[in-house]
Every structure is written in C-alpha cells, then in structure tokens.
Symmetry: C2
Subunit: 433 residues, 2 copies
Amino acid sequence: MPFRLSHDEPDFEGRFGAFLDTARAADADVDEAAAGIIADVRARGLAAVLDLTRRFDRFGADENTLRISEAEIDAAIAGIGAPEREALELAAGRIRAYHTRQAPADALWTDEAGATLGWRWRPVESAGLYVPGGLASYPSSVLMNAIPARVAGVSRLVVAAPTPDGRANPLVLLAARLAGVDEIWRVGGAQAIAALAYGAGPIRPVDKITGPGNAWVAAAKRRVFGHVGIDMIAGPSEILVIADRDNDPDWVALDLLSQAEHDESAQAILVTDDPGFADAVAAAVERRLETLARRTIAGASWRAHGALIVARDLDHAVELANRVAPEHLEICAADAEGLAERIRHAGAIFLGAHTPEAIGDYVGGPNHVLPTARSARFSSGLSVLDFMKRTTLARMSPGALRAIGPAAEVLARAEGLEAHGLSVRSRLDAMNE
Amino acid sequence: MPFRLSHDEPDFEGRFGAFLDTARAADADVDEAAAGIIADVRARGLAAVLDLTRRFDRFGADENTLRISEAEIDAAIAGIGAPEREALELAAGRIRAYHTRQAPADALWTDEAGATLGWRWRPVESAGLYVPGGLASYPSSVLMNAIPARVAGVSRLVVAAPTPDGRANPLVLLAARLAGVDEIWRVGGAQAIAALAYGAGPIRPVDKITGPGNAWVAAAKRRVFGHVGIDMIAGPSEILVIADRDNDPDWVALDLLSQAEHDESAQAILVTDDPGFADAVAAAVERRLETLARRTIAGASWRAHGALIVARDLDHAVELANRVAPEHLEICAADAEGLAERIRHAGAIFLGAHTPEAIGDYVGGPNHVLPTARSARFSSGLSVLDFMKRTTLARMSPGALRAIGPAAEVLARAEGLEAHGLSVRSRLDAMNE
C-alpha cells in the first residue's frame, strides 16, 4: 500500500519527516569495482575497453567496429516510421528553441575607480554523453543531453552507449543524428566513463561527461569528477502532484504512474486538500494498474514508495512540496501560477491540468534531465550553462591601481603573502617616480 | 631549475605535451579515512565532532563553546587596526558590487503552439563555507565565498573553521561579519564537512558546501556530493603570464612568485615571444627569491613546476595558454584585449601591465575561487549562480496539448512507457468528446 497521511492525524510532522528521510536508493556499492575498471582502462587503454565490452555486453568489437559508422546509422534509421521520425523532429525543434534562450550574456563595464571588469562565456570544447543500454535506452534523453551541448557551441560531441549483443536502438541513433552528435561508440558502464575521461585508443578524451546511468556509471562519474566535468549523480526520480478536487482522478493517477513505471525505486506523491479526492486517485491508480504494460514495475514503485497526503489546504500543500523538493512538480489547481510562485525547490513545474509531466519528458522544450532525490534544494536541471564556462575579466588603469592597490597590499601583508603585496607595490612605486 | 622550452627546439610539441601532463597533485589518498570520519559523525553526531576536534585541533570544545559567540567575535576583531579593517571593507564592497551583476534573469514566454514556457531562479536556502585553519586561513577567501551566497539570497550562511589550539584568526572573523555570515563553528577537516552535510548536534545541515581545504576536506566533499551540493574539488593552482619584451621583468617575476609562494605544488608559467625577456624574468625571479619571506615555498614551487616558454609569437602564446587552461592568466602586451578574445580556457584574465593577479585575489571584484589544474576547460569560478538553482516552468493550453501531445504519445510508445502516453491520450480524448 502507498504511504497515506493526513494533516489531522496525530504526529503528522514526525511521520512526514520520517517519510522524507526514507532512502529509496538501493544502489549496490560498486565504487571499488568502478575504480578497478577505470584503472584498467587507464593502464591498458583500448584493449581493456574491448575486453570489458566483450564481457559485459557480449559484443566482440575491435578497433574498427567499436565506433558505429555513418553507414550503420543510415541502415538502422532507414526502418524508422514517419510518425516516430516526425515526433523526434518536433521534439528536437522544441528543445532547441527552449535552450537557445538560455544562452548567457557576456558583460563588461568600467567602474568609478577606473577598473574595467566583466566576464565572458565560452563553450566546453568536447562533451561525452552516456546513453544507457537496455530498458532505459531513451532517444528522448539523447536529445535532452546533446541539444544543449550543441546550442552551447561544443565542437566535438560524442555518445557512448552499450550495445548488448551488438544491437543498437535505431531511435537512439536517429536522435543522435538529429542532435548533431559527431561520434557514437559502442561502449557502456564504467569503462565508457573511463574512456571518455582519459581516452582509449581511437576514443579521444572529452572535457565534460553527462547523461544517466546505472550504479557503475554513477560511481565512475564520481571518480573522474575533477579530471573532467560531470553533470549530476542521478538518483531515483520522483513526481509530486498538487491537485484539488476539481481534477479528473484518472488523469492524476496516470501522471503518478508515469513516474512509477520508470523504475521500482521511483516515487509518486499526491498532495491534495481533499480526502475524497485522494481516495478517488488511489482507486484510479489501482484500476490502471490492472492493465498497464509495466504494471509490475509501476505497482512495486507505487506500493513501496507511493504516497497520498491530505494537506490542510493548498498553502500547506505548497509547504510540503518545498520539503520534498521534487524533481517533477505538477500543480493542478485554479491558481496554479500563484501557488508555484511560492515553490522554492523543484526541478520542473508543470502548471494546470493540461500539462502532464509526460509532455515535459518529450516535447515541452525544457530539459527532462532534472535534479532527483531532493537535490533540487541545491541544483538545477541540465542546461546550456552546463556546457559553457565563464572567464572573468579585469583591467586596472594606472589610476585604478592607485585607488585600490594599497588595500590589496594591506590584505596581502595580513595574509603573509609578501610577493602578492610586492607585485602591487612595485607598480605603485614606478608610478610615483 | 624551472622548465624551459623554446618553439624552435626539436620536438617542441612532444615536450610541451609532456609538461602539460605532469601531475602536480601529491595528495595523500585519504579517501577511506575521510569515509570513516563521515560515518562516525553520521553515527555519533556531536560526540564524534567533539572527539575529532580534540584530537586534530587539540581543542576541547563542548556543545556550548563549539560555536564562536558574537561576544568572542567582538573581542577578537576589536584589536584589528584601521588599515586592515578598511581594506577588508573596500574588498567586500567591490566583491559585492561585481557579484550583484551576476544575478540571473527569470524568463517566461508563450510560443506559437500556445505553450507557456520559462524558468525561474531561486536561492539555495542554506550554505556552509569551509575555511581552512593554519597557513591557508585567508580572510579574503571568506569574502569570496560568503558574499556571492548573500547576494544570491541564501538565508542561512554558516562557516566551519578549525581553530588549532582554540585560536581563531581575527581577520577571518571580521571578514565573516562583513559578509553577513550567521554562524561560525570551530570544526575542521572531514568532520566539518560531515557535520555540514548531515548535521551534528547544534550544527544543522546545509544544502550546499563551498570553500577550499586539504586532502581530507576534498575527499569528504567528494563523498557527500549528491546529498548536498559542493563547489569544486580544488587542486594545485597556477598562473600563466603572457608578456612581450615591453614589460618590466621584475613586475612579471613578482606576479609569477605570487602564485609560487602559495604552495610548493603551485605552478607559475611565463610565455613570451622574446628569449631575452625570458632570461631577464628568470634572473629577476632568482633575485627576488633571495629575500622573499616565503622563499622556501616559492623557490620549491618555481624549481619543480615553474616554466619559461618562448613562443613563436604572441598568437602562438595564446594557443599554448589555451592548452594549459590556467586558473589565472595575465596578458601583458599592447593588444591584451585582442589576444584575450582568442583565449578559450582560463579561470580569470588580467589585462595589461597594471593588473597584477594579486589585485584579483583581494580587491578587483571578480571571485578568486577559480578552476585549478586545467579544469577551466569545463568549469568556472565561484559565482552567484553557485548559490542558486533554476526551476523550469511549463503550462500547456488545451490547444498546445492538441498540437504537440500526439508527438509525445508516439515517443512514449516508442520508449515502451505506456502510462506516459496514456496521460496525454486521456486528456486529448476528453477534449474531443
């Protein structure tokens, strides 16, 4: 049964707090195994990558077949039907339009002291995008990672994707082509992350690695962080729906199940101000669970991690949502915008009953790579900024150095850094000569 | 002797590449030790923090003395002289003015499909700033970390700083007060990071941790990353100076030594187009090393990691600088701005002969927390954005859902996510009824 709690029950606070603290990540501790794989790839390069690919993906690639050729891509995508192709093109166009607006502005100004200051954004030169194999091999994720990189101006964009038994997902290949990916390598797991970070034979290293992955991939990303940039460490994902009684319980049930069907450790939470509506949604979820293709996964997620919470009112619902800091937040109520205004922590907000979270997964435009497991408290979804970096600029006129240099000298002396102080003093003395 | 290389020597490329690949980080592998300390603090909370503080800092704090009281701060800063106080105030004002310009803009628009899209920035609620004890206890770093957090709107700003033998640095306390820090705790090392991430007795957990630290602090930050946000993993820092012959060799020598005096693993590199100028700078460095207070550290850094590189011309110098991706880049040449335009990777650029890097360490305005060890290829200096996060917004009108919903449905089906598709379909069907 999903967790159920109402504001008028005894110890609501304690029980809500305990619910929040329940860990959902059941990741195996594979940190040492990942470290071993990284060391192997650094030591043996391509040979290690080929060995591990044979072992984990049952695929005997060699130096020439490790990269998926343009001809292979052509052949694979030729069989894709028009509806799928058009849907991916529509999604790519909308994602590109949204992310193009994120391009940051440079700045340069001269202040009253005569100091010219500013900053300038430049793209990361090369980026590697990890695409999981198996169940979670999603073409939509390729678009969501690759398009912001291209909009940022990344010049070399690489995909690493395991191809279990040598089979690649044609829609993933099409998404990579639509997004302008330059190279696709048939390699997965920690060995893919190691190859992207340090290079391996024909796989040249990249500067930044993004994309979701299993526990090995996550552990490897944590390990290579610092040598290259990484996006975030993705945890189990969640949705929180705030809905009042003026909603269709079946729509809300399907939105909850959209999250639950991803993964047994996913979490779907309804917060409503009406106990009768909570009952109706619970019933609708059970009805849908009877026929849903992924009912085993969705049912396990719903029973283990699902929640129906009855808040005092919609303001209370907003407060509870802030404490959850959900990856996805739907607000289905008359004044959705007014309630959203007071949300401080959420990866993405979907406003109104006609904005199911699934729209955001595919065609809305905003990124679907979002902070999970309460990390919306301190991080943001993937964006163009993740593929750019800022250089600060400063030029002192002689007058500016005269005005603020002495303070730098005082602070350098206070910190015991004599050369710092002298580097300012030698210039000031020359000006006074 | 510092490394010396000229463009006209045989195998310039190979030798420059080998120089780039030379690792300078000699951090002990303290990952397991840090993990043990984090586990101890999570299990025993305050008791563990007090035990570790007694052991590592020789300071027997209890629950009441672990936090530095306002009265203690008042007493400590009363003895600070006017020049130091005024210099810190000038620095704080300039840093605040620069960072205030970084406040990001929200956006909201409606596109031709009828989808209202956008994003919104909100501050992280609480942030913890680590301030090292001992040699590297720098008041300027307190300003550089705390002011962007305050400008971002962080509501609770906490400092953790070891106080070896119970002694706190008065200038650090003054900087914390000027920057508006709310709490200062006498705790250092991995135990400080654990307490900030998970809480320990009176130390409530924070959402984001920033600030420099030794190998234990770095390992602990890497471990808690994901549960809380962190800034970057700082490595040994570096400066690269591009200077032509029309510069004072002594000024450039002092700028190189400003970096070298920080730390034996720091790196100072001159790239010039004139071999005679390289000789003159080398001689000036040696002269200054005779008298510099920190000549042991600066000399060790210069001999082990320093470099004098003679480029073909200033364009070649720019190309080499891009390959180094230095934390600090000074450009002392007539057309500094023109050369800077082609720099793709650098944490901060200092333009012209009157902008010694030391100005940027203290009073320039831009942040001095910058990407080290070539990570300017993929990351930026600390900024207001590090203390904010972005929530994306989406609202579909019924018409927008009709226009783009079917594509989402197609993609959901292609990815085998039936509930995703049904969440769109159920709404479309209701509209058609």
